[in-house]
C-alpha cells in the first residue's frame, strides 16, 4: 500500500500538470488540435490509474480543456471519483470540473447524491462550502429533492460562511423542487435578520429573486424589508431591497406612499451613485403605481427628472446610459416631465456610443406628437443614412416604424408622407426588416382607404424598379416589400393608372429569382390585375387589347409553372388553364370580364391578430363532449356544430355568398361601432374624432386642404418625404392663420367641440388637422370577443411553479423528504414553551392530512384576515419620521411556525392533542358546511387531497391515526433494534439478594437525584426488616426522614417474599455535579425461613456517574446552532478505536446510557444534546470513521465535560 503510494507520487512527477498543459498548448500554436487530442489520450490513461492525485490532476486539465470548448462529459464518472476524494485539494478540483460540465442530462449525476450529502455534513466548513458551490451549478430536480432537507439544516450552521452559501443555494433548490419553498420559507425569513451581514445579504438576495417573479406572495414581508431598508447600511442589501420594493409597489399603492419619504431622503443623502440610481428607479415605480389622482407628488417627479438630468449630463457614459434608461420609465406615465428635456435627448441621439443612442431612441418613442413627428422622423432618417453598423440601422428602422405606427397611427397627420417614408426605407441596404416595412405598407393601404390611390402608385413604381431591390443577395431581406407591393397593386388595381405597365413589370422573367412566397403572391395578383384590365378593355370595347393581354398572360405564365416552389407552381398552372379557357372564349367573342372579375369580388378587411383566439365558445358547446355517442339527443347536437360553422363563414368576407350576408355584416358592424362608441375603454382609432369633426357643422369644420401633393411626387427614386415636411409646415401655417382668425370671431363656441382622445395630446396637437380624410379601419374582431389578457402568459415559465402562497400554514404533506431508514430528522423550533418533541418519521397518513387540511382551511381564513389586518395596519400608519418605530414587525410569524410543526407531538400530550384534533376536525366540517365555496387561492391539489380525505374518512375511525403513526424513540430506529437493555446497573448481590439501581435526575430539582433501587429476593427466605445505610460525603448526602441522624439507616418500605423483587426510591442531594461520586452503603436485612431467621448484610457502592446527572432533553437544530455559536462553551474531545457497532446503534447506546438526544444526524455524523440537572448544556458531535468513533463535546463546564467523555469512552470501548 505504502509502496503504491510512493510509486504513485513518483509517477505523478512525470505527468503533465495544468501549467505544463497550458504551456504545451501555447507552444503548439500550429497544430493545437492535434496536440490537445494527444493530451486527451494521456489524460485518459491517467484517469485509469488508482492514484487519486493523478486522477485529480487529469480532471483539472480537463476543466481547462472544457473552457477551450472540448466536451468532457465522457469523464463524468472520473469527476465523481475525484469529488469523493477525502482531501480537500482534490475534492475541490472534482467539484469545479463538475460545476463546469455537469447538467441535468448527465446521467451519472444521480451517483453524487450520497457523496454530496456526506460533504455537506463534513466537519470541515470548506468541504461543505465546496460542495454547496458545486451543487449550485448542477442541481437537478432529483438532487434538490433529496438534499433539500440537508441544505435547510445548513442554513442554521454555526459558521456564517456555510450559512450564506446554504441560503443562496436554496433559491436553486426552489427552482428545481418548488415543493421545498413552503417548508423552507420560515427559516429563510429568519435569515433576513441573521447577525452576519453576509448571510443577511444572501437571504435578501434570494427573497428578492423569488419576489421578482411572483411579487404578490411576498407583500406580507414588506414591513420587515422596510425595517431593513431603514436600518441597513450595506449598499448591496439596500439596492436589492429597493429593487424589490420597486416590484412590490405596483401591487400595493399604499406601500408606495410609505416609501416615498425614506427613498427621497436616501436620494438626498447617499453618495453612492448605484444606490441613488436604484432609489430614483423605485420612486419612479412608486409614482407609476400612484399615477392616478395623486397630484401632490409632482415634487417627487421633479426630483427624479432633475436627478436623471444630472446623470444624463454627466461625462460618465455609464451614468448617461442609466439616466436615459430610467427616463424612459417616467415617460410612460409622465410624458410631459420628460418632454421638457427633449433637447437633451435629441443631443444623445448624436452620441458616439451606440448603447446611448439606442436608449435615446427609446425615449423618442414617447416624445412624438402630431406636431413634431415629421421633424423627429426626418432626423432619424438622416441617422439611418449615416449609420454604419447594420444592427443600429435596423434598430433605427424599427424605431421609425414604431414611432409612426404607435397607438393606431395617432400622430400621423399625412399618410402620403408616411408611405413615402416607407418607400425610402426600402432603399436601405441589407436590412433584416423588409417584412416589417411590408407589413406597414399593407396595413396602411388596407386600413386607410383615402391613401390607396397614392399607395398603389408608389407600389407600382416599386414593382417597376424591383430589380433594384432584389438585385443582390445581400439585399434579400428587403425584397419582402415586393410582397406588399404586388398585393396592393393587385387588390386595389382599380386605382392603377397604367395597369398594363404594372402587369408587365410583374411578369418579367426576373421575378422568378424572388423567393417562392413572393412569387406566389405575384401570380395571384397578376390575375387580379388581369381581371381589371380585361374589364377596362371590354368596357372600352377594345377586344383586341383584351386579347393581347390574355396572350401576354399565356406567354409569361409558364415561367411560373416551372417554378420549384410548389405553391407557385400550383397557382400558376391553375391560372394558366383558366387564362387559356378565357382565351378560347375571347376567340368566340364572348364577354368574359364580368365573370373573371367575379373571382375577386368583395373586399378584404383587416382582422386583428388575436381575433381567432378571441372567438368565444358558444354557450352550451362542450368541445370535450362526444359528438356521436348518445343517439337520443343527436337532434340538438346536430344543430350546434352547424351554427358554429355558419358563424365562421361570415367571418370570411372574401367568399361572401349572398347579398343577405353582406347586409347582415354591415348591420353588425354598425352595431359594433355603436358599442365601441359607447364604451369608454375602447381605444378609438383616430377616424372617429375626425369624422365627428366633419359631422359637426360650423366652426370646427376645417375644409380639408387637398393641396396638389400627389401631382409632383410620383417620381420614384427620389427622397420625397422632405418635401412633405415643407408642405406640411406651410399647410399648418395657413391653418393656424385661418384658425386664429376664427378664434377671434367666436371664442365661446371653441370649447364645445372638444374631443376625447385616448392619450393626452398637447394643446398644439389639437390645432393640427390631418391633411387627408383619413379613415383608419379598425381591425376586425369576432363578435362577443372575450376580453381576456391571458394571452401573454407562458405556461412553460419555470418561475410559475414558484408562485406559491407562503402565508398559508404548512401542511404535513409538505415536509421535506427525509432520508429514509436514518434518523436525520431536523426539528424546527415550534414555540419556546413546548418542552418535549417526539418526531414521527413515518409519513403522515391521509387521514391526518385531511385533518390538517381542515384545520388549515379554518386557520387560513383567520390568518388571512389577521395578516391583512397587520399589513393594513402597517400600511395605514403614517410613515415614521425616524427609522426606529416600525410597528408590527412580522405578521403571523408565530402562528406560522406553530403550524409548521404539526407532526411532532409531545408524547404525554398526545391524547390531548388528539382530542383537540378531533374538535378541530368537527369544527372544520362545520366550517365546510357553512362555507361550501372554496377559497380563491386554494390550490387544486389541496382540493383533491381534501376530497380524497373525505372519502377515506368514513371508513376509518378517528382513533386509528394514532396507531398508525407510532412515535419512534430518539436515536432508536425502527428496524435495527438493539438487544433489550436495562438502565438499571448492578449494585451488589449475594445469595440472598440482588440489588440493581438507576439514578434519575429531574429538572425540577437542580441538586437532587432519585436513586431507584430494585431489590430481588433470590433465596427461599422471606426478606424483611431491610434497612439501607449510606455513608454521606461532603458533596452528596441522602435525604433522610426528619429527625434521623446521619448514621441511622433508612428502612426499605416493603418485605420481599422468595423470588419477588420490588423497587425503593431514595432521594440524594448533590452539591456539585461536575464530578462523579461514589458512596459506600450497606443493606441490612433479616432473612427468615422455616429454619429460622438470620441477620444478613450486603455492602454496596453507589456510583453517581456524571451521566446520571444528565436529563434527556430534545433540542432543535437551530437552537443547537445558536448554542454552539454563543461561544461560552468549552470544548474537549475523545476518540475510540476498534468500534464495530453500527453508527445507528452507537448513537442509541449514547442516548440510552448517557441521556443524550440526537439533534441531527447526517450520514456518519451526528450532533447530540443533553442538559444537566443544574442546567449545563452539553453538546456533542459524534463522528464515525471506519473503525473509530470520535466525540467532540462542548459544555458550559469543562470538568463535567471531560468526566462525561471519560464515561462515554468506557461505554464506547465496550462496543
Amino acid at each position: 500500500m505504502a509502496l503504491k503510494m510512493v510509486k504513485g507520487s513518483i509517477d505523478r512527477m512525470f505527468d503533465k500538470n495544468l501549467q505544463d498543459l497550458v504551456r504545451g498548448i501555447r507552444n503548439h500554436k500550429e497544430d493545437e488540435a492535434k496536440y490537445i487530442s494527444q493530451c486527451i489520450d494521456e489524460i485518459k490513461q491517467e484517469l485509469k490509474q488508482d492514484n487519486i492525485a493523478v486522477k485529480a490532476n487529469a480532471v483539472c486539465k480537463l476543466t481547462y480543456l472544457q473552457m477551450l470548448g472540448y466536451d468532457i462529459s465522457w469523464a463524468a464518472f472520473n469527476i465523481i471519483e475525484v469529488m469523493s476524494a477525502s482531501k480537500f485539494t482534490f475534492k475541490r478540483i472534482g467539484y469545479l470540473a463538475a460545476s463546469q460540465s455537469f447538467h441535468e442530462g448527465t446521467d451519472v449525476i444521480m451517483l453524487t447524491t450520497n457523496q454530496i450529502r456526506k460533504d455537506l455534513s463534513s466537519p470541515s466548513q470548506y468541504d461543505t462550502g465546496v460542495a454547496l458551490t458545486g451543487l449550485s451549478c448542477f442541481v437537478t430536480p432529483d438532487l434538490a429533492r433529496d438534499l433539500a432537507n440537508d441544505i435547510m439544516t445548513l442554513m442554521s450552521h454555526t459558521k456564517p460562511y456555510i450559512r450564506k452559501k446554504a441560503v443562496l443555494i436554496m433559491y436553486k433548490v426552489f427552482l428545481k423542487y418548488p415543493e421545498s419553498l413552503r417548508p423552507a420559507f420560515p427559516r429563510l425569513k429568519e435569515k433576513l435578520e441573521d447577525p452576519d451581514p453576509g448571510v443577511q445579504s444572501a437571504a435578501v438576495n434570494v427573497i428578492c429573486e423569488l419576489a421578482r417573479r411572483n411579487p404578490k406572495n411576498y407583500l406580507s414581508l414588506a414591513p420587515l424589508f422596510f425595517k431593513l431598508m431603514t436600518s441597513s447600511t450595506n449598499n448591496w442589501v439596500l439596492i436589492k431591497i429597493i429593487k424589490l420594493f420597486g416590484a412590490l409597489t405596483p401591487l400595493e399603492p399604499r406601500l408606495g406612499k410609505k416609501l416615498i419619504e425614506p427613498l427621497t431622503n436616501l436620494i438626498h443623502s447617499t453618495s453612492a451613485m448605484s444606490l441613488l440610481y436604484e432609489c430614483v428607479n423605485t420612486v419612479i415605480a412608486v409614482l407609476i403605481s400612484l399615477s392616478s389622482g395623486m397630484p401632490n407628488h409632482s415634487a417627487s417627479i421633479q426630483l427624479c427628472v432633475q436627478k436623471l438630468r444630472i446623470l444624463i449630463e454627466d461625462s460618465d457614459q455609464n451614468l448617461k446610459y442609466l439616466g436615459l434608461l430610467a427616463m424612459s420609465k417616467i415617460l410612460k406615465t409622465h410624458p410631459k416631465s420628460v418632454q421638457s428635456h427633449k433637447d437633451l435627448i435629441l443631443q444623445c441621439l448624436d452620441d458616439k456610443d451606440e448603447s446611448i443612442r439606442l436608449r435615446a431612441l427609446d425615449l423618442l418613442y414617447g416624445m412624438v406628437s402630431k406636431k413634431n413627428l415629421m421633424e423627429i422622423v426626418k432626423k432619424l432618417m438622416t441617422h439611418v443614412d449615416k449609420a454604419e453598423g447594420t444592427t443600429y440601422r435596423d434598430e433605427l428602422l424599427t424605431k421609425i416604424i414604431d414611432i409612426c405606427s404607435q397607438s393606431n397611427y395617432q400622430y400621423i397627420t399625412n399618410f402620403e408622407w408616411y408611405i413615402s417614408i416607407l418607400v425610402e426605407l426600402t432603399r436601405l441596404e441589407g436590412t433584416r426588416h423588409g417584412h416589417l416595412i411590408a407589413a406597414q405598407m399593407l396595413d396602411v393601404a388596407i386600413r386607410v382607404k383615402a391613401i390607396r390611390k397614392f399607395a398603389v402608385s408608389q407600389m407600382s413604381a416599386l414593382l417597376d424598379s424591383a430589380h433594384l431591390l432584389a438585385s443582390s443577395t445581400q439585399r434579400n431581406g428587403i425584397c419582402e416589400v415586393l410582397y406588399a407591393a404586388a398585393w396592393i397593386c393587385g387588390e386595389f388595381s382599380e386605382h392603377l393608372q397604367e395597369p398594363h405597365h404594372t402587369l408587365e413589370a410583374m411578369l418579367r422573367p426576373r421575378v422568378t429569382t424572388l423567393p417562392g412566397h413572393i412569387q406566389a403572391v405575384y401570380v395571384q395578383n397578376v390575375v387580379k390585375l388581369y381581371a381589371s384590365i380585361l374589364q377596362q378593355k371590354e368596357q372600352a370595347g377594345e377586344a383586341e387589347g383584351a386579347q393581347a393581354v390574355t396572350q401576354l398572360m399565356v406567354d409569361r405564365l409558364p415561367q411560373f409553372v416551372q417554378s420549384a416552389d410548389l405553391e407557385v407552381q400550383e397557382r400558376a398552372s391553375c391560372i394558366l388553364q383558366l387564362v387559356k379557357h378565357i382565351q378560347k372564349l375571347q376567340a368566340k367573342d364572348v364577354p368574359v370580364a364580368e365573370e373573371v372579375s367575379a373571382l375577386f369580388a368583395g373586399e378584404l378587411n383587416p382582422v386583428a391578430p388575436k381575433a381567432q383566439k378571441k372567438v368565444p365558445v358558444p354557450e352550451g358547446l362542450d368541445l370535450d363532449a362526444w359528438i356521436n355517442e348518445p343517439l337520443s339527443d343527436s337532434e340538438s347536437e346536430d344543430e350546434r356544430p352547424r351554427a358554429v360553422f355558419h358563424e365562421e363563414e361570415q367571418r370570411r368576407p372574401k367568399h361572401r355568398p349572398s347579398e343577405a350576408d353582406e347586409e347582415e355584416l354591415a348591420r353588425r358592424r354598425e352595431a359594433r361601432k355603436q358599442e365601441q362608441a359607447n364604451n369608454p375603454f375602447y381605444i378609438k382609432s383616430s377616424p372617429s374624432p375626425q369624422k365627428r369633426y366633419q359631422d359637426t357643422p360650423g366652426v370646427e369644420h376645417i375644409p380639408v386642404v387637398q393641396i396638389d401633393l400627389s401631382v409632383p411626387l410620383k417620381v420614384p427614386g427620389l427622397p420625397m418625404s422632405d418635401q412633405y415636411v415643407k408642405l406640411e409646415e406651410e399647410r399648418r401655417h395657413r391653418q393656424k392663420l385661418e384658425k386664429d382668425k376664427r378664434r377671434k370671431k367666436r371664442k365661446e363656441k371653441e370649447k364645445k367641440g372638444k374631443r376625447r382622445h385616448s392619450s393626452l395630446p398637447t394643446e398644439s396637437d389639437e390645432d393640427i388637422a390631418p391633411a387627408q380624410q383619413v379613415d383608419i379601419v379598425t381591425e376586425e374582431m369576432p363578435e362577443n370577443a372575450l376580453p381576456s389578457d391571458e394571452d401573454d402568459k407562458d405556461p412553460n415559465d419555470p418561475y410559475r411553479a414558484l408562485d406559491i402562497d407562503l402565508d398559508k400554514p404548512l401542511a404535513d404533506s409538505e415536509k421535506l423528504p427525509i432520508q429514509k431508514h436514518r434518523n436525520t430528522e431536523t426539528s424546527k423550533s415550534p414555540e419556546k414553551d413546548v418542552p418535549m418533541v417526539e418526531k414521527k418519521s413515518k409519513k403522515p397518513k391521509k387521514k391526518e392530512k385531511k385533518h390538517k387540511q381542515k384545520e388549515r382551511d379554518k386557520e387560513k381564513k383567520k390568518e388571512k384576515e389577521k395578516k391583512a389586518e397587520d399589513l393594513d395596519f402597517w400600511l395605514s400608519t403614517t410613515p415614521p419620521p425616524a427609522p426606529a418605530p416600525t410597528p408590527a414587525p412580522v405578521p403571523s410569524t408565530g402562528e406560522l411556525s406553530v403550524n409548521t410543526v404539526t407532526t411532532p407531538k409531545d408524547e404525554c400530550e398526545d391524547a390531548k392533542t388528539e382530542v383537540q384534533g378531533e374538535e378541530d376536525d368537527a369544527e372544520g366540517q362545520d366550517q365546510d358546511k357553512k362555507s361550501p365555496k372554496p377559497k380563491k387561492k386554494q390550490h387544486r391539489k389541496e382540493k383533491e387531497e381534501r376530497t380524497k380525505g373525505k372519502k377515506k374518512s368514513k371508513k376509518q375511525p378517528p382513533g386509528s391515526e394514532e396507531a398508525a403513526g407510532e412515535p419512534v424513540q430518539n436515536g432508536a430506529p425502527e428496524e435495527e433494534q438493539l438487544p433489550p437493555e436495562s438502565s438499571y446497573s448492578l449494585l451488589a448481590e449475594n445469595s440472598y439478594v440482588k440489588m440493581t439501581c438507576d439514578i434519575r435526575g429531574s429538572l425540577q430539582e437542580d441538586s437532587q437525584v432519585t436513586v431507584a433501587i430494585v431489590l430481588e429476593n433470590r433465596s427461599s427466605s422471606i426478606l424483611k426488616g431491610m434497612e439501607l445505610s449510606v455513608l454521606d460525603s461532603l458533596n452528596a448526602r441522602m435525604a433522610r426522614p426528619q429527625g434521623s441522624s446521619v448514621h441511622d439507616g433508612v428502612p426499605v418500605p416493603f418485605q420481599l417474599p422468595p423470588g419477588v423483587s420490588n423497587e425503593a426510591q431514595y432521594v440524594f442531594t448533590i452539591q456539585s455535579i461536575v464530578m462523579a461520586q461514589k458512596l459506600k452503603g450497606t443493606l441490612s436485612f433479616i432473612a427468615k425461613n422455616d429454619e429460622g431467621a438470620t441477620h444478613e448484610k450486603l455492602d454496596f457502592r453507589l456510583h453517581f456517574s456524571c451521566s446520571s446527572y444528565l436529563i434527556t432533553t430534545p433540542c432543535y437544530s437551530d437552537a443547537f446552532a445558536k448554542l454552539l455559536e454563543s461561544g461560552d462553551l468549552s470544548m474537549s474531545s475523545i476518540k475510540v478505536d476498534g468500534i464495530r457497532m453500527s453508527f445507528q446503534n452507537l448513537l442509541a447506546k449514547i442516548c440510552f446510557h448517557h441521556h443524550f438526544s440526537v439533534v441531527e444526524r447526517v450520514d456518519s455524523c451526528a450532533s447530540m444534546y443533553s442538559r444537566s440537572i443544574q442546567g449545563h448544556h452539553v453538546c456533542l458531535l459524534v463522528k464515525k470513521g471506519e473503525n473509530s468513533v470520535s466525540v467532540d463535546g462542548k459544555c458550559s463546564d469543562s470538568t463535567l465535560l471531560s468526566n462525561l467523555l471519560e464515561e462515554m469512552k468506557a461505554t464506547l470501548a465496550k462496543c
Binding site: S9, L18, Q19, V22, R23, A53, C60, T63, Q66, M67, L68, G69, Y70, D71, K87, F88, T89, R92, I93, L96, Q100, H103, Y126, V130, L132, T133, S136, Y161, K164, K165, L168, I169, Y171, K172, G198, S201, A202, N205, C208, E209, R212, N235, W236, I239, K243, M273, S274, Y277, E278, Q317, N318, K320, Y321, L322, K352, D353, E354, S355, I356, T391
Partner: protein, 156 residues
C-alpha cells in the same frame, strides 16, 4: 441573477468561462466569440453596458463589462441586478485577483485558471452574488489555501 461570467483577452482567447445556465460547449464558444466581437468594437470611453447579446437570454439580459489592460471581464446579468452594482463587483473581483496573485496579469489567469475559479466561487455562487467584502473573500481563499498546503505536507 448573473447568467454568465466571461474573461477573455484582447484577441478573444477565453481565460475564464463560467456559465450559470447550461449551454453545450460549442454554444459556449460561440457566445464567447460573439461577446468578444460586441465589446471589441467599443471604445474604452463609452459606456460599459451593452444590450443585444442575442445568444444569452433575451431582452431582459445585459452585458456589463470592464476592460483592464489586456483582459475583458464580461458579466451577463438580468434586470434584477443593479448595473452599477455589477460594475463594482467586477472591480471587487479584479482587485481580489490582484491581491491573491500579487499584481495579477494575464499570465496568472492563463496558468492558474483553477485558482481563478476558486476565487470567483467566493464572489459569485450559482449566479448570485455571494460576497462583496474583499477582505472576507481574501480571508476565505487564504484559509482554503492553507488547508490545501497542510494536506500537501501530509502527503509528503
Amino acid at each position: 441573477m448573473i447568467q454568465a461570467i466571461l474573461v477573455f483577452n484582447n484577441h478573444g482567447k477565453p481565460r475564464l468561462v463560467r456559465f450559470y445556465q447550461r449551454f453545450p460547449e460549442e454554444i459556449q464558444q460561440q457566445i464567447v466569440r460573439e461577446t468578444f466581437h460586441l465589446v471589441l468594437k467599443r471604445d474604452d470611453n463609452i459606456c460599459n453596458f451593452l444590450e443585444g447579446g442575442s445568444l444569452i437570454g433575451g431582452s431582459d439580459y445585459k452585458l456589463i463589462y470592464r476592460h483592464y489592460a489586456t483582459l475583458y471581464f464580461v458579466f451577463c446579468v438580468d434586470s434584477s441586478e443593479s448595473e452599477l452594482g455589477i460594475l463594482d463587483l467586477i472591480q471587487v473581483f479584479v482587485e481580489t485577483l490582484d491581491k491573491c496573485f500579487e499584481n495579477v496579469c494575464e499570465l496568472d489567469l492563463i496558468f492558474h485558471m483553477d485558482k481563478v475559479h476558486y476565487i470567483l466561487q467566493e464572489v459569485v455562487m450559482g449566479g448570485m452574488v455571494l460576497e462583496t467584502n474583499m477582505n472576507e473573500i481574501v480571508a476565505q481563499i487564504e484559509a482554503q489555501n492553507r488547508l490545501e498546503k497542510s494536506e500537501g505536507q501530509v502527503l509528503g
